[in-house]
């Protein structure tokens, strides 16, 4: 079935065109529009010429924007760190200590909670963390303390706990995949050469699974930094993050230009952090040679 390249190229392009046209019209064009709006002059509900850097200057000059971006960044990084640290041993266990035919069952068990209504899961954390909740009533009945902790009243802490729970399965899967690819004979070689199991792990398994760790970090970081529901429900809207601010600008204030500038700035921030993650990974792999 030898095909000349141009015929193959035409067939491929024709086949992918419905999907391509869809994403160009509904994703590429809107993203480009946001980019253009961010340098236009805003008026309520629309945008006007001339081109201006005013919106970005506004972002820079008002500390509240910087504060919210920094807060979202720190919350997301903390959540990412916790999630990946908690997930690694689980992925390791499933990859190294579970019989091959049972592995997909374990993964299935880990992913099920993720597929159940996010909003309901978030709200249930009230029951666990809140006044008279599971944590407080258990600790009090065991006699560890005599006043309520009421963790839910600490907005940022509860946002972190809820997000770390919500994105846990996302972290397990990529780490598991990279651990599966680790050549088991390398581990035997390491131990034959006199390394302890712990140092074999540190010097062979961990570096080889780093791409999975980085992938996990990215997969957790990106949706957490842009999360809308959790700050709204758990934080009671008192601790807005990026997504909540974009909503305020674009919908409540109908300031398309300013909202677009903020959206572009947050995309830039997410992009920069992602690139740093990827570079770290590259450096890590390079360092092994």
């Amino acid at each position: 079935m030898a095909q000349i390249p141009s015929a193959e190229a035409r067939a491929g392009l024709k086949l992918i065109s419905p999907t391509a046209i869809y994403v160009i019209l509904l994703l590429a064009v809107p993203l480009a529009t946001v980019l253009i709006y961010s340098v236009l002059t805003g008026s309520r509900g629309s945008v006007l010429l001339p081109i201006t850097g005013e919106n970005y200057a506004e972002l820079w000059s008002r500390p509240v924007y910087g504060y919210i971006m920094l807060k979202s960044l720190l919350v997301a990084l903390t959540v990412t760190f916790i999630t990946v640290m908690l997930a690694y041993p689980v992925a390791y266990f499933v990859s190294f200590h579970v019989k091959p035919e049972r592995k997909s069952l374990w993964l299935f068990l880990i992913t099920i909670p993720f597929w159940t209504s996010y909003i309901i899961r978030v709200s249930l954390w009230f029951v666990i963390l809140g006044y008279d909740g599971v944590v407080d009533s258990t600790l009090m009945s065991l006699g560890f303390m005599d006043t309520q902790l009421n963790i839910a009243s600490y907005s940022i802490l509860s946002i972190i706990i809820v997000l770390a729970h919500a994105y846990a399965p996302f972290a397990v899967l990529p780490i598991f995949v990279s651990l599966e690819k680790v050549d088991r004979s390398l581990l035997e070689a390491g131990q034959d050469l006199g390394e302890s199991r712990w140092s074999t792990f540190l010097r062979v398994t961990l570096p080889l699974s780093m791409p999975g760790v980085i992938a996990a970090a990215l997969i957790v970081f990106i949706p957490t930094v842009g999360d809308y529901v959790t700050p709204e429900l758990v934080g009671d809207g008192k601790e807005p993050m990026i997504a909540n601010l974009i909503e305020t600008q674009l919908l409540k204030l109908a300031n398309f230009a300013q909202g677009s500038a903020f959206a572009v700035a947050s995309m830039l921030m997410v992009g920069i952090v992602s690139v740093v993650f990827v570079l770290l990974n590259r450096r890590f792999i390079g360092g092994q040679k």
């Binding site: 491929g12 391509a20 909740g133 995949v177």
Partner: protein, 269 residues
Amino acid sequence: MKNAPFLRSYTLFYLLFLYGPILLLPIFAFNDSRVVAFPLQGFTTQWFAEMAADQNLRNAAKNSLIIALSVASISTILGIFAARASVRYRFPGKGPILGMVMLPLVLPEMIVAMALLVVLLSIGIPLSLFTVILGQVLICTPFAVAILTSAFQSLDRSLEEAALDLGETPLSTFRLIVLPLVMPGIMASFLICFTISFDEFIIANFLGSGQPILSVYIFGQFRFPAKVPSMLALGTVLVLFSIILLGFAEYMRRRGIAKAGGKDSGGFL
């Protein structure tokens, strides 16, 4: 396999942490008190009755069903085109096009929603269930492409070639050979897109302009403490519903791998 008692117990604790909130759902859904807190007050099915009698809830569920069915169908069809093209052909611009299709996976959902919303508002398209479908398809298509790409990859090219040699047209080969073999992948993609759409909140909220949609309705109800128990009853029903759907999707996925003669490498995506 070596035994690792510490790792094993850690993993079990981790599962308990993951399942904690979901295990509480049925407990409080059957608890005879409007206040969702311990100690438990006794058994009741009152919240399920309240949930079933809620007319707004039924409307919202109907709308969500319409949206999720449309989104799952459209995303899966778009996914078939993209996955088939990417597995089977080499063509210019393949990288950028596929990158664009998969972009929503690495973009905060709020950005996708807002970019689309700004354009819709600027050209004056009224928000409706239809605009929600448009937006959610963007979010679901990457999942469909990921699942279907692996389905098409495990397909043996020689089967197709044999059919063509035996005088079938490309179209009838696709219908008679390719389609039946990737059918389990198509079903899995449909079910997963359906589940994602059904649970999706941000696009439903911002592109739906206050239409009753299940996730938006639930979000609103949690602001009224008196409504919480019946929402937990609803949550219990939804959890059961998605476990059944996902079990089915997983079954289809495994059958697909077995059919194509591959080995199960585990995992959904």
